[in-house]
């Protein structure tokens, strides 16, 4: 009886134990089968999350590795709702924020922007839950206004808004990585579970710009504009051998580091204007190339000619001039005769061969192509004016590329601004080598004895051409405003560089290419040739 009683109790205990285990087991199966996926999802949502890793925006350097645009990592500090005054005072003491006063935080509010890594670590060591640190990148432009119309700037969101920052935005930004990560109880990421989207690392860009040459160009440009009461201007320096752009200065400019900046356009690519006499050598090259004239052909020039009721005249009566002397003296009558020799069709085709009215090879957010008056029934006066640079527009960059043809023995090259660019450089023989040499000879005469004598340097030999244009306003030529231009190739005989300068908005006192642009060219070329290691004649 006693043994039976003992066994009965044992069986009862075992029975309840078995029952309990069975209930737990059944519950486990139920949870696993019925609620398994829901609970797994809920667990994952608590322990895992997706995060996007954005790459720091790539930098822009000049050809020597000098930074033109860089991003620095910082942290923005936010207070979350419910941050106490005691906690706020701790933050104040840590960051020396004495000018900030405590207010009750009802929503996420910014306390301080751009904390350094050291400040970030100090804040983290406070172990305050109601704080959030957000990683940010601040963009800096060490060269400021010297290069801002070219480099441009990016916004706070890291998106390029102007200049090369805009046109190379995808290269500089890369593509963010998206991944799923495991988090611990403190919501810190402890493990990467899977990569959801493979990104692409942001890349740096190296330009062909030399910041020392850029400085020389910008400095003298601003000085010349101020001294001559001009309003704007450009300088372009091309390396004819490497087919690279060494400097692109555009004034007025702006400080890209200032959030209140007022954007100014890059005149090098956007300001297409009537180039004036600067196109005369291009027309002469076309005429020589067509076999219509030779460089030393004698031309008889009256002091003025009347076409369709309009009078085209020179400063003085030249009588007889050789073709190269037409360039040297910048004779309007001579240029008109060359235009008529070529005829409208050949003249326009010739300008197009030199790259006018065509898009440029530089990847820039917006560029102007310029245009040429190519109406079917073009009048005689329009043909005449095309010969000395009216009735067509071109940007400073197009003019510079066109002149580089003479330095490159008649070969047209597209110039590049990005070093190691994967795009092939387009090249084409436009005129013969002998024609290119003839034109260089006539341009040398311009500087040595002609209208560009103020570009003549004691130290270096250069070839060049002046240009003066009256500004067209509301369909009329407003004679009180001029653009003075000068383009030169040098130092002779290597002809490594093509340098273009122009100053816009000049008044009626001093406005010609010879008196305003040529001296500016001389200053820039002297310093640049010296910087590049050329020494004296």
């Amino acid at each position: 009886m006693n043994a039976y009683y003992k066994n009965w109790r044992l069986f009862l205990i075992l029975f309840f134990l078995f029952l309990s285990i069975s209930v737990i087991f059944i519950r486990m199966i139920y949870i696993q089968i019925e609620e398994g996926s829901f609970l797994l999802q809920k667990g994952n949502s608590q322990n895992t999350s997706e995060r996007v890793i954005e790459f720091k925006r790539g930098s822009i350097f000049d050809k020597n590795g000098i930074p033109l645009a860089i991003s620095v990592t910082g942290f923005d500090l936010f207070a979350l709702s419910g941050l106490s005054e005691e906690e706020f005072i701790k933050i104040q003491n840590t960051l020396d924020l004495n000018n900030l006063e405590y207010k009750s935080f009802n929503k996420k509010s910014l306390i301080k922007r751009s904390l350094s890594f050291e400040q970030m670590r100090k804040i983290k060591s406070l172990k305050i839950d109601r704080l959030e640190l957000e990683k940010t990148y601040k963009r800096h432009y060490p060269l400021g206004e010297q290069v801002s119309p070219l480099v441009g700037f990016s916004g706070r969101d890291g998106y390029g808004l102007e200049g090369l920052e805009k046109s190379y935005n995808s290269t500089l930004t890369g593509k963010p990585i998206k991944e799923r990560v495991l988090k611990d109880g403190a919501r810190s990421t402890i493990q990467r579970l899977e990569i959801l989207e493979f990104g692409e690392k942001s890349r740096d860009i190296y330009l062909t710009i030399d910041s020392n040459i850029q400085y020389i160009a910008y400095k003298y440009l601003v000085e010349a504009i101020k001294n001559n009461d001009g309003t704007a201007g450009t300088v372009i320096i091309l390396d004819n051998f490497a087919r690279e752009v060494l400097a692109l200065a555009s004034y007025p400019s702006y400080n890209p580091n200032n959030p209140m900046r007022r954007i100014k356009k890059n005149r090098v690519f956007l300001e297409s204007y009537e180039p004036g006499s600067i196109v005369k050598p291009l027309a002469l090259a076309g005429a020589i190339e067509s076999g219509l004239i030779e460089i030393d052909t004698e031309m008889t020039l009256p002091i003025k000619i009347e076409i369709d009721g309009s009078i085209i005249n020179d400063r003085k009566k030249y009588g007889q001039l050789k073709a190269f002397e037409v360039i040297k003296e910048s004779s309007q009558v001579g240029a008109t005769q060359i235009s008529f020799l070529l005829g409208a069709e050949r003249l326009i085709d010739n300008y197009k061969k030199f790259g006018f009215s065509k898009p440029v090879s530089i990847n820039f957010p917006s560029t102007s192509f310029g245009e040429i008056n190519s109406r079917e029934k073009i009048s005689d006066i329009e043909i005449a004016t095309l010969g000395y640079g009216y009735g067509l527009t071109a940007t400073p960059f197009q003019i510079s590329q066109a002149y580089a043809i003479f330095a490159n023995n008649g070969i047209y090259h597209d110039f590049r601004i990005i070093k190691d660019s994967e795009f092939p450089i387009f090249s084409e023989q436009i005129i013969s080598e002998s024609t290119a040499k003839d034109i260089l000879y006539s341009m040398k005469e311009v500087v040595d004895n002609g209208t560009g004598i103020l570009a003549k340097s004691e130290n270096y030999n250069v070839s060049g051409k002046t240009g003066t244009t009256e500004k067209l306003r509301d369909g009329n030529y407003k004679s009180s405003t001029y653009t003075a231009s000068f383009i030169g190739i040098g130092p002779n005989p290597s002809n490594e560089l093509t340098i273009f300068v122009n100053i816009d908005g000049l008044g009626s006192q001093k406005y010609s290419g010879g008196s305003v642009a040529a001296p500016l060219f001389k200053k820039i070329s002297n310093d640049v040739f010296s910087y590049m290691g050329y020494f004296n004649k």
Binding site: K56, S59, I66, P67, I70, V72, T73, S116, F117, H140, P142, T189, I190, Q191, R192, S211, N212, Y215, I216, K219, E458, N459, S530, F535, N536
Partner: protein
């Protein structure tokens, strides 16, 4: 046959327990490695910041604008023309 049964079970339990410890250890190592990687990334960015600051400072100190200003204003230097060197 029966005499091997219990030792086999025991051996399996030991192996399972050992493997569980290994699993925990590997997970811990993965997480430690991840933390180290994150720290190194952060250090890399901090050093990059410093590098850019130094690069900019180097450029500022070497910049032709600053040198020209110092030479003219502080030292009273004048530009040497090539023809004056004989």
């Amino acid at each position: 046959m029966k005499s091997y049964f219990l030792p086999m079970i025991f051996l399996q339990l030991v192996i399972i327990t050992y493997l569980s410890f290994i699993l925990v250890d590997v997970r811990w190592q993965i997480r430690s490695g991840f933390k180290i990687q994150e720290n190194l990334n952060s250090q890399n960015q901090e050093l990059q910041n410093l590098y850019y600051k130094l690069l900019t400072e180097e450029f500022f100190l070497n910049s032709p604008a600053r040198i020209e200003k110092k030479a003219k204003e502080d030292l009273g230097m004048i530009k040497v023309r090539p023809e004056t060197i004989k």
